[in-house]
């Protein structure tokens, strides 16, 4: 009996000790990542696919197309990071930008326009007069907004200088078509999506933001419904490769590189919150009553903020105001 117990104990511990000790290896701690602030000069460079690289800044994400005929830069981020962004672009290619495209005229997207447009070599490449600068493409509604709202706040040098007023503009560079698609009333009245059709990368600006509830500006022509329409446009354009992932990759205004299914989650979230708030308004609830019902509870941990310019409360106030 004693021998049997001894064998059992040896067997037990020979198996159990590795098992127990394995659990002493502490799992990696899960957490929602912090992102650099808009005054930070921090950047991070990530290859996306095809000819597209993403440079993340505290202002906005930047997309850079690199090819043998030069670069296209979509958005230029915050001013504080623009010197680092310029250095990163020089490391990607010795060629200069041929175009800058702004997805919005919000300062966080165009503050670096002047610094990036000054990356040298334009004259040598295409014979342009340096004083002319390179085209900064944006929707004409953005110019109206700049004149009306930002004329003192944003220097003229960073304004788009090559605007279009239709719903669609197309470019072709480095063997690749590039479509610029106006979204009329999303974050502001001036948002555009930029689709690199060869690389199959879609740059959305702040219409899609993996770090926050959508920050739309009714005072600048933005709206909740226009935002949902724009998100549906992104889903319509994107084509997943397999298992609802891969294929078209999406660079959001802020946060991580994504595929269509991530936008679907975001669109569903905004739509569900809209429907809930609308139902409560129809039932006669005040804003404070809506807030107390926690219509965004399951999404607050992912997209919500308790402080800063765009808190969960402010987002819900904007939703309520539009639907009232």
């Amino acid at each position: 009996m004693a021998l049997k117990n001894t064998i059992f104990c040896r067997l037990f511990f020979s198996v159990s000790i590795p098992v127990i000790s394995a659990f002493l290896v502490q799992p990696t701690l899960a957490q929602r990542p912090d992102f650099p602030s808009i005054t930070s000069d921090e950047i991070e460079v990530l290859p996306v696919q095809g000819s597209i690289t993403m440079i993340a800044t505290g202002g906005s994400n930047i997309a850079v197309m690199v090819g043998e005929l030069g670069l296209i830069v979509v958005d230029t981020g915050n001013f504080e990071a623009s010197a680092n962004v310029a250095d990163a672009i020089r490391e990607l290619s010795s060629l200069p930008p041929r175009y800058i495209i702004n997805t919005s005229v919000l300062p966080s997207h165009l503050a670096g326009n002047e610094v990036i447009s000054e990356i040298g070599g334009v004259e040598a490449l295409i014979g342009l007069n340096q004083d002319v600068g390179i085209p900064i493409v944006g929707h004409a509604n953005g110019l109206s907004l700049l004149v009306a709202e930002f004329i003192d706040a944003i220097p003229y040098e960073v304004w788009p200088n090559s605007t279009f007023f239709s719903e669609h503009k197309a470019l072709y560079l480095n063997g690749e078509p590039i479509e610029i698609l106006h979204q009329p009333a999303a974050i502001t009245q001036s948002d555009v999506l930029v689709h690199f059709r060869g690389s199959d990368v879609l740059v959305t600006g702040d219409i899609f933001d993996t770090t926050s509830y959508p920050h739309f500006y009714p005072e600048y022509g933005g709206s909740l419904q226009g935002l949902i329409d724009a998100l549906n446009s992104i889903i319509e354009i994107a084509v997943p490769e397999f298992n609802q992932q891969g294929g078209t990759l999406i660079i959001p205004g802020h946060g991580r590189i994504a595929s269509e299914s991530d936008v679907v989650e975001y669109r569903d979230m905004v739509t569900i919150i809209r429907d809930r708030v609308q139902l409560m308004i129809d039932d006669g609830l005040s804003f404070e009553e809506v807030l107390a019902a926690h219509p965004s509870l399951e999404y607050d941990g992912i997209y919500g903020h308790d402080s800063g310019e765009w808190t969960t409360r402010i987002f819900l106030e904007a939703v309520y105001a539009e639907l009232l």
């Binding site: 290896v25 799992p27 992102f35 298992n243 569900i272 019902a293 399951e298 992912i302």
Partner: protein
């Protein structure tokens, strides 16, 4: 949250008993037993052992069945308002199960291949096949870093790396998509981190998964799965999912139940109050049985009109 929970310890004790018995059984059959070390291999054909957990893993938990899931209030709201019709959206029809769930059900029977560096012949990873919707997973063993925490692409399978530690293969998975922990809408956030502990005992392969989710879980979710070696098993290359048009639906259609919805199916079936089905960390501990018993008594009294 940061400490292994009591639930983890309960699972470990259970597995120790299982492992010890299995060890003795194998010894009696005089079969060679791989010693738990860094040399063991998990490649091969493995059939899922689905026993007392068949209901949870094959048909899957029904609407409103959250008992045993340490979910928080945010997760509960997401699950209770989740409408299964959402899987009819064209852009969701080809979704596979995410890594947080794919080794849980239905079954799956696995084929696991070694990934070998074509030049050095060094063993650098494992590739798994057989999960629902071809949600094949890759586990890298060559020490490569995980993608950027802030900006890296998330996939249904996340990004998995493994290392041999204390006689086990410890796999860490990050960068999973917004998914589910069960097929009834219990959400899994993209910020979850899953740690899997793989170990072999003879012909048995066991994996204990430990998931921390700062958004939706009050405590780590710990589950175990075991497979048995089955060389003749065939895991075929299944056809990829493809969205199809079944009924006309408006673009942007997002079905969901209104706030306050309670799914009573499980409560009615088992004859318990709905509170007994709504999950939470408290429901994973043995002491909760007493709470359930009291709820049942109260339910019976109410039914009897007392």
């Amino acid at each position: 949250m940061r400490q292994n929970s009591l639930a983890t310890k309960v699972v470990v004790v259970f597995l120790l008993q299982f492992n010890t018995l299995n060890f003795v059984n194998n010894l009696a059959r005089a079969q060679p037993i791989p010693v738990a070390s860094e040399a063991f291999d998990i490649s091969g054909m493995w059939s899922a052992l689905v026993l007392e957990d068949w209901y949870d893993r094959l048909p899957g938990a029904g609407l409103g069945e959250y008992t045993g899931i340490p979910m928080n209030a945010a997760a509960r709201q997401k699950a209770e308002t989740w409408d299964a019709s959402i899987l009819s959206q064209p852009e969701r029809q080809a979704q596979p199960h995410p890594a947080q769930y794919s080794f849980r059900g239905p079954r799956p029977n696995l084929s696991i291949d070694r990934i070998v560096d074509p030049v050095t012949r060094e063993h650098i990873g494992y590739q798994t096949y057989g999960t629902f919707g071809n949600a094949d997973r890759t586990i890298w063993l060559d020490g490569r870093p995980h993608p950027s925490e802030r900006y890296g692409l998330h996939q249904w399978n996340g990004f998995s790396t493994g290392e041999w530690s204390n006689g086990m293969l410890v796999v860490t998975t990050t960068h999973m998509k917004y998914g589910v922990y069960q097929r009834n809408g219990v959400p899994a956030s993209p910020y979850a981190v899953m740690t899997e502990y793989w170990f072999r005992n003879g012909e048995y392969l066991t994996m204990v998964s430990h998931i921390e989710d700062p958004i939706y879980l009050e405590e780590p979710l710990v589950r175990s799965q075991t497979w048995i070696w089955n060389p003749p098993q065939v895991v075929d290359l299944r056809r990829a999912f493809e969205p199809v048009e079944e009924v006309a639906m408006d673009p942007g259609w997002v079905p969901h139940w209104p706030l306050g919805t309670k799914h009573l199916d499980m409560a009615n079936r088992l004859g318990v109050a709905v509170e007994a089905t709504t999950g939470g960390a408290i429901t994973i501990y043995p002491e909760y049985r007493e709470t359930l018993r009291q709820m049942r008594e109260e339910f019976d009294k109410n039914q009897a009109g007392e």
